[in-house]
Amino acid sequence: MQAAQGGDGDAYSRLLSDLVPLLRRTVGRRRAGAAAGDVEDLVQDVLLSIHVARASYDASRPFLPWLLAIVRNRLADGARRWGRRAAHELQVEDIEVTFSELGSNTGSGGLGEGRDLQRAMATLSPRQREAVVLLKLREMSLKEAAEASGQTVGALKVAVHRAMAVLRRRLGSPGTHGH
C-alpha cells in the first residue's frame, strides 16, 4: 500500500488482486444469502473506496484495520442501498419480453463487455431505460426520479423491476453485475 501511494502501479495491482479473495470471503460471510452478483458489487465498491481513500492510509500503522473499516462502511452502505432497491422495485409476474434483434448475443463474454450492456439497454422501452438511468445509475430517490421523469412512483417501481429482469436475462450469468 505504501508503494502504491508512491505511484507504483505494479504493487497496486498486486495488492488489489490479492485483496479480492479476502474481500469475497469477508463480504460473503457478512452477507450470507446474498446473490453472487451483489457480493461482487460490494467487493468492487470496496476496491473503489480503497482507491479513493488511499491517501488516508498511514504506513506506520497496520493495514488490515484500515481495510476492514472501509469494508464495514461499504457493507453498511450496501445494506441501505439494498433496502432502497427493495422499496423501489415492485415485483410483477407477467413480464413480457420482446427483443428487436435476433441473435443479439455476441457470445463474446458476459457482463465484462460494456457494449453488451449498452446493447441490452437499447432493447428496453424508453420508460424502462429512463427508470434504470435515474434509479440505478444516478441513484435518485423515488420521489426525485418521479419528478424528473413525470412517471408515478408506482410506474417507476414496475419499470425498473421489469428492466432489471430483462437486463439479467439478456446479459446472461448472474456472476457479475455491470453498472
Partner: protein, 222 residues
C-alpha cells in the same frame, strides 16, 4: 465491468498521492488558523471592558481553559475519525474537558440560583449569543469541513459532530472575550447550549455534509 477489469482501470488511472499528515499535526494547523481568525475577530469587536478583571478570576480561567481544551481535543478527534481504523477510545478524550466546562458554568448558575432564588430563572432570550457564536465558528467550521473531506469519512456522523464541537467550542471562546454575559444561567443556556446544539445538528447531518466515498463509479464511467 468485471472485477479484474476494474483493477486494471484503477491501476491505469492511479497517480501518486501524498499521505495525510497525522491527525494531531492537522489539528495543530487547524488550531493555528482558528486562533488567528478569532484574534482578528476579538480585535475587530474590541475586547470586553472587564476582560482584565475576569482574567484574574480562577473560575473564569478554568472555564475558558476547559472550553479551549474541549475545542482542541474535539478537533484532533474529528481529524482522527477520517482515517479508517481509528481507535474508538479517542472519542472519549474531549468528554473530560467538556464535562469540566459544563460543570464550571453549571456550578456558577447554581450559585446564582442559591444567592438570588427563583428570580434568576427569568427567561431571557439572547439571540445575539447564537449569532456571535456562529460568527466565531464560521471560518474554523469551514476549514474543518475542508480538512475532514480530504480524509475518508467512514463515520461521518462522528466526524461532523466532533468537528462542529471543535469549531463552535473555539468560536464560543472567542466570543467570551468580547461579548460579556449577564449571568451564568445565560451562559449555560445560550453559550453551552448553542455549542452542543450545533454539534448535535452537524452529527445528525454528517452523512450529507461529508458524503463518502464520492460517486466513484460515475467518475470511472467518464
Amino acid at each position: 465491468m468485471d472485477t479484474e477489469e476494474l483493477i486494471r482501470t484503477l491501476t491505469n488511472r492511479m497517480e501518486p498521492v501524498r499521505p495525510l499528515r497525522r491527525p494531531w499535526r492537522r489539528a495543530a494547523l487547524w488550531t493555528t488558523l482558528a486562533v488567528a481568525y478569532l484574534a482578528v475577530l476579538v480585535v475587530t469587536m474590541s475586547p470586553r471592558e472587564d476582560l482584565a478583571r475576569r482574567m484574574a478570576e480562577a473560575r473564569f480561567l478554568v472555564e475558558q481553559a476547559a472550553a479551549l481544551l474541549t475545542g482542541l481535543s474535539a478537533a484532533g478527534v474529528a481529524l482522527a475519525t477520517v482515517v479508517p481504523g481509528f481507535s474508538r477510545r479517542v472519542l472519549l478524550v474531549p468528554l473530560t474537558p467538556l464535562a469540566v466546562w459544563l460543570g464550571v458554568v453549571g456550578a456558577g448558575a447554581l450559585a446564582e440560583y442559591s444567592a438570588s432564588g427563583a428570580g434568576v430563572l427569568t427567561w431571557q432570550f439572547d439571540w445575539a449569543c447564537i449569532g456571535t457564536i456562529l460568527t466565531g465558528a464560521a471560518v474554523p467550521g469551514i476549514a474543518m469541513g475542508v480538512m475532514l473531506r480530504r480524509g475518508a469519512a467512514v463515520a461521518p456522523h462522528l466526524s461532523a459532530a466532533y468537528g462542529a464541537l471543535a469549531a463552535a467550542g473555539l468560536g464560543n471562546l472567542g466570543v467570551c472575550l468580547f461579548h460579556p454575559h449577564s449571568s451564568y444561567l445565560i451562559l449555560l443556556v445560550w453559550h453551552c447550549g448553542t455549542v452542543l446544539v450545533i454539534a448535535a445538528l452537524a452529527g445528525a447531518t454528517g452523512a450529507r455534509l461529508l458524503r463518502w466515498p464520492p460517486d466513484s463509479r460515475a467518475a470511472l464511467a467518464r
